[in-house]
Every structure is written in C-alpha cells, then in structure tokens.
Amino acid sequence: MKYAITLHVNGQLYTLEVEPTRLLVDILRYDLGLTGTKEACSVGVCGACTVLVDGQMVSSCLMPGVAAAGSSITTVEGLAGREELLPVQQAFVDYGGFQCGICTPGQVIAAKALLDENPHPTAEEIKEWMMGNLCRCTGYYKILESVQRAAEGGQA
C-alpha cells in the first residue's frame, strides 16, 4: 500500500506516493533523479549514501521514506550555488580529497555536517567523525587534509 509523503529536498518541495519500505536512497535516486547520492554497502557502514535530514547526517539506505516525511533533506546536489562550490567542496578539489569519486558525495556531506556542528575541529575530531565514511582509493590522508583546510578557511 502506498502512502503520500512530502519531502523538502535541497529547498524544493516534493509530494510522492511511496511504499512504507521504500528507502530514502531509492526515493532520492530513482524517484527524484538525484543520483549524486550513492549506494554502496547498503547496511549503513560505508557512508556513501550519507545525506542530511533536518541537518543531521544519516544513512539514507537505512531510512524508510515514510520516516523522513516532512523533513528537510540536503543531498550533495544541494550544497553548491549556481556558480560556486561550497568551501568544503572546493577544499576536496584543491587538496585531492577524492580519486574514483564514488564515496565523495557522502564524504562531502559528512564534512559539511561536521563543520556545521564544530567549525574548528581538531585532527582527532575529524578522524572520529569521518570514520564512518569509507574510501577504497585515497588512503584518507587527502580527505582529512581537505576537511582540515576547509575548517581553516572558517566556513563549511
């Protein structure tokens, strides 16, 4: 049975009819066409599907859409303006915080959530926070550096 829900995604209001078991990641990717959010492990471990729900980072692969109904959701598509990247995105570009790119949307969203909550994290705090976002290419140092540089810039 389908249920009507509304989602505010990247500032836009959507009304949808979904099965209660339809997961947020699938709604974003297949119903709304926002394929920036990736699905990798599908069990909440790897962080590729990280999005913000009411400002809090969550695994969209473990959240039924009905449980997000009425919430404001930010995906990687919602971070940048028309012309400019957010400082945290620019830092990932400038400091080589990605290689193949599959984990990058989740990494960037997680970094944004960190800097929103704690604008000047220590290296340890960055590691502890970003621990839940796996990358199989870069070896993490470039990612940590990107987040650190973004924090030094003073803006997420």
Partner: protein
C-alpha cells in the same frame, strides 16, 4: 517487501490499537537501523510497520526522581552528548559514544537498540552495571524489569506482543565509584566488539576497601552476561592487583563465546579475562581519582 501497511500514531494509545489491529505481523519502527537491516536480509518480513517518531512521550533524556530517564526514542547521539547523562552516569555517555558511527548514532534509538537485543551491542553492558530498569507499557498498564531480565536469549527479549518499551530508568553512578566500558576492537573502529566489558568499582569510606564491584560482559554469550562471581570476589576486599587478577580469572568459566571472523572462541575467552582485569584496574583508578 510489498504490501506492507504503515501506521504512524501520535500517541501510545494509537500504538496499542495498531498492535492489536496488525497482530504478529507488526513491527515497531524506531530509528530503523536494526530493523531495516533485518528486513533487507529477509530475517524479518513484517506485514505492518508502526512508526514511533511522532510520539512525544517516548522522547528525550531527563532526571526523574533522582534517576536518569532515557526515552525509548532518544537517539544514541542524544545520550552520548547529554549533559544530564554525563553528570549522572558518565559511563553511559562514554558507552553510547562507542556505538558504530556518528551517522548511525544520530538515528539509532535507546529503545530500538535494546529491543533489537543483539548480544554484541555496547549499551546493554553498561546498563547492566548501572542496574538500569526497562519500562514496558501496554494497554493494561506498565511494568518495570531489571535490564538483565529483559534480555532472554539471542535477539530475544521479555517484551510481550502487546507491549512497547517506553523508557529506561538508570540510577546515578555512586559518587565513590569509578566505572569504565572497554570495547576490544581488533578490526575496525566502528565494528561490533570482539569482547566488551563494563566494570564499576566503589570504594568504602576508608578509600581502601572495595565496597561494591559490578562487572558485565558483551559479545561472549547469547545475552549480556553479569559476572557475579568475579564481582563477589572483590566485595569487602582490598583491591590489590593480585585480587583484581584473580577476580578477572572467574569470567573464564562464565563466558560462552562462538568462533567467528572476530576471533576464535578460545581467543575471546582469553580476551574476556584480560579485558575484565583491565576494566577493573581502570575503574579502580577512576574511583581513587574521584573521576567516576
């Protein structure tokens, strides 16, 4: 996973009605981090989901008649970061912080976690040491049970089909006690424990004698285990390094681990003894420092 019904009541009466309506087909949806994974693996295939997120009475963390009250829908992250929790039971904040990752802790709830009843979880180990009580509510009333009676077997709890886990009550840590939660993680930092131990050591007024000791272990049996013999060996004694070592040795006969990719049963049994000793040493050091 098609044809699943969904209800999202805004009060407990609505939940009880939905439980009655859908019967054994129903599963309560709290944060979903446990249930959705079980559904993906088809270990659970509910005919109906009852969402609890709109129920105000299940939320929040507060002090209530001296005890800490953790609402069933309070998230792990709320418990971890709550000043009220840190003041009353720092062990609890420290333990919730060690669950998975921030992203999961933002969503996973206190009640959902306990109802999931995976014996490798972190919070039950600390909650046993803190003598927490679980509050179960049905249409017919409310009952409170000690947390160690709540877990009945591997993924099994004492929750009756018509009941909802509504809150957890935790007495504050005694002032003269030190407590610690140690999670042995040989693989990755966000893993389930290979062996987990919580210990609390309370010193008598003389500052030398062990007035009370409490020890619990996770990931080494079908439920969280209370090491009563090890704790009894310390009560009324001077907690010398030798006494701690002997007490820790008692858990060898208690634990019943399984071989898996986190280690062999024999290795986990050895590590249970080692981590119990370390937990006792660290809890004692905290008691002596007045660090709790």
């Amino acid at each position: 996973m098609s044809d699943v019904q969904y209800a999202e009541p805004d009060n407990l009466a609505g939940v009880f009605d939905a439980l009655e309506r859908y019967g054994e087909e129903a599963r309560l949806l709290a944060g979903g981090t446990g249930l959705v994974n079980l559904m993906k693996q088809r270990l659970v295939q509910p005919g109906a989901l009852i969402g609890l997120r709109r129920i105000e009475a299940l939320r929040g963390v507060s002090r209530q008649d001296g005890a800490l009250r953790l609402g069933a829908m309070a998230t792990h992250r709320e418990v971890e970061t709550s000043e009220v929790v840190r003041a009353a039971a720092p062990l609890l904040a420290e333990t919730y912080r060690q669950v998975a990752t921030v992203r999961i802790r933002n969503v996973a709830t206190v009640g959902g976690g306990l109802a999931h009843a995976d014996p490798s979880q972190d919070p039950p180990v600390a909650l046993v040491v803190l003598r927490a009580r679980v509050v179960l509510t049905s249409k017919d009333g409310t009952r409170e049970i000690p947390i160690e009676e709540f877990f009945t077997d591997y993924y099994e709890t004492a929750i009756a089909p018509d009941e909802v886990l509504t809150q957890v009550l935790v007495p504050p840590q005694p002032a003269q006690a030190g407590a610690v939660y140690l999670k042995f993680l040989p693989r990755t930092a966000d893993d389930y424990a290979t062996v987990a131990v919580a210990a609390l050591v309370e010193l008598a007024a003389d500052g030398e004698t062990c007035r009370d000791a409490r020890i619990a272990l996770g990931a080494v049996g079908s439920t969280v285990l209370q090491a009563t013999a090890a704790a009894a060996a310390l009560r009324g004694q001077r907690p010398t390094p030798e006494a701690l070592r002997e007490a820790a040795e008692q858990v060898r006969a208690l634990v019943d681990p399984v071989d898996d990719y986190r280690g062999s049963a024999a290795y986990k049994r050895d590590m249970a003894v080692v981590f119990t000793r370390r937990a006792l040493e660290q809890a004692l050091a905290r008691a002596r420092d007045g660090a709790r």
